[in-house]
Amino acid sequence: MRPFSHLQQVLESRTFAVTSECGPPKGADPSSLVRKASLLKGYVDAVNVTDNQTAVVRLCSLASCAILRQMGLDAVVQITTRDRNRIALQSDLLGASALGIRNVLCLSGDHVCFGNEPGAMAVFDLDSVQLLEVARKMRDQGSLCSGDPLTSPPKFFIGAVENPFADPMDFRVKRLEKKVKAGAQFIQTQCVYNIQRFREWMERVRDRGLDERVHILAGVTPLKSAKMAHYMREKVAGMDVPEELVRRMSSLPAKDQRAEGMEIALEIIEALREIPGVRGIHLMAVEWEEAVPELVTRAKLTPRPSPQGEI
């Protein structure tokens, strides 16, 4: 079957994929998004836009992705189940397909208590696994969650996230399998810093044969400073930054820390490429999009394949 998106095409042709991320602005002017996205153009296969990440109200992912499409980028719309019930979710999925946004990443989303509207109702009508199944049924069976038929089905390459570093450890692979069963075709993982632990997780993924059923993109976030490394280690739930990396960053004067962060990211990318079953990387250079072209170039992942046909 013909792929629905450029990203799907790249992954199915077994080219090592590179995707990245753009955080939309906390305002109505999209120019910062356009600026970030233009930095990424030509260096990545697809750009995904977060859906009100950390529950902070921002320009919506759907509109942002439509702007990326106008710029000629393949977009990944993130859809969380935190803010919308199944009516709104399905409606947005139809809207995404209509706008030519053919990659959807289904997730539950950060809890409202972390954001700037902590009194909001946390919806969670569906969970991420159920959303995957809903998206798949809409596409493959042309019907809604309730079974009601659609007049025309949407077109999607469906993705999900997984955190290899969260608890309970040995259940994580089972949960990944559940996501694959529900409809996930690609997986974006939490940022990898602890390569050893990620390797072990991938081993279990391969033991279950999941690497052949889903395209795994390993998350990579270059560290900007020792402070960031420390913060990620101590404060961010589900993040595993080894002490050794924090020490390595802290041992240098502040002015050299960014360069060191780049070096570490390159080492991680190199190690990830050696792990069987890893089909690509997802670069999340938060408010440091300039790092992406440099990382991709220095990792010798350029030039990126150009889109084939009308996608």
Binding site: H111, L126, D127, Q130, D167, P168, A182
Partner: protein, 225 residues
């Protein structure tokens, strides 16, 4: 049990300010168990109100009574001789009790003295935890008797999310991750395979999706000849 906490005294004082006599009505069932609206709490609040009024030089007559249950007509009826003697009733029952009393005495002013919170369990002395949302379709058989709809902050039926760390919930590290508990308990009893299926979305129309719910059973109705 239905749990509740007493409203802050300032809020109660403001509510009763327009009246010169108020009847405190406690409830001897759930809110007595959670130490917010039983006989003892009625007595404490009554003294507090009396003392406060006298300190402020205000006239306030405070009556006290506690019903076995404030949500059942046969018990509420016992208030009949008292209601007319007071300008207002301050109910120390859950929201169901407050509404039941005001339905039976529609002319009376019935005020809530408690904030009703959740369906829960007394875990230890002085600690109550929420463990049921009354969703109308119990699924505990799948989840080792730990309700993810109530005890997971994201209500995930196919958890855990990526924020579970050290068996704790990222939303509140004081709270154990419900999904960590579910996985551990199912592992212990050798039933982890229960989590392999994708559990379908909930039918929230059985919860509160269609407004207030009711249970009607003809076999329980009193036959009139």
């Amino acid at each position: 049990m239905i749990t509740a906490v007493r409203k802050p005294f300032d809020e109660i004082r403001e509510m009763v300010a327009p009246y010169e006599s108020v009847l405190l009505v406690g409830c001897g069932t759930c809110v007595a168990e959670c130490a917010s609206g039983g006989e003892k709490e009625v007595a404490i609040l009554a003294s507090q109100l009396r003392m406060d009024a006298s300190l402020r030089g205000k006239r306030l007559e405070v009556g006290e009574t506690t019903l076995d249950r404030q949500c059942v007509y046969e018990f509420i009826d016992r208030l009949s001789p008292l209601v007319e003697k007071y300008q207002a009733i301050l109910s120390l029952a859950c929201g169901a009790g407050v509404q039941a009393v005001s339905e039976i005495f529609p002319e009376a002013i019935v005020l809530p003295g408690l904030d009703t919170t959740f369906l829960g369990q007394t875990r230890e002395a002085g600690l109550w935890i929420e463990n049921c949302r009354g969703c109308g379709s119990c699924k505990l058989q799948w989840f080792a008797s730990i309700c993810p709809i109530t005890r997971c902050a994201k209500r995930l039926l196919n958890g855990p999310c990526g924020g579970s760390r050290g068996g704790r919930c990222e939303v509140d590290p004081e709270v154990p991750c419900a999904w960590n508990m579910i996985v551990e308990r199912l592992r212990k009893v050798g039933r982890l395979e229960l989590l392999e299926d994708v559990y379908p979305p909930c039918d929230w129309s059985l919860a509160q999706g269609r407004g207030p719910r009711k249970i009607q059973r003809e076999d329980q109705a009193i036959e009139t000849v």
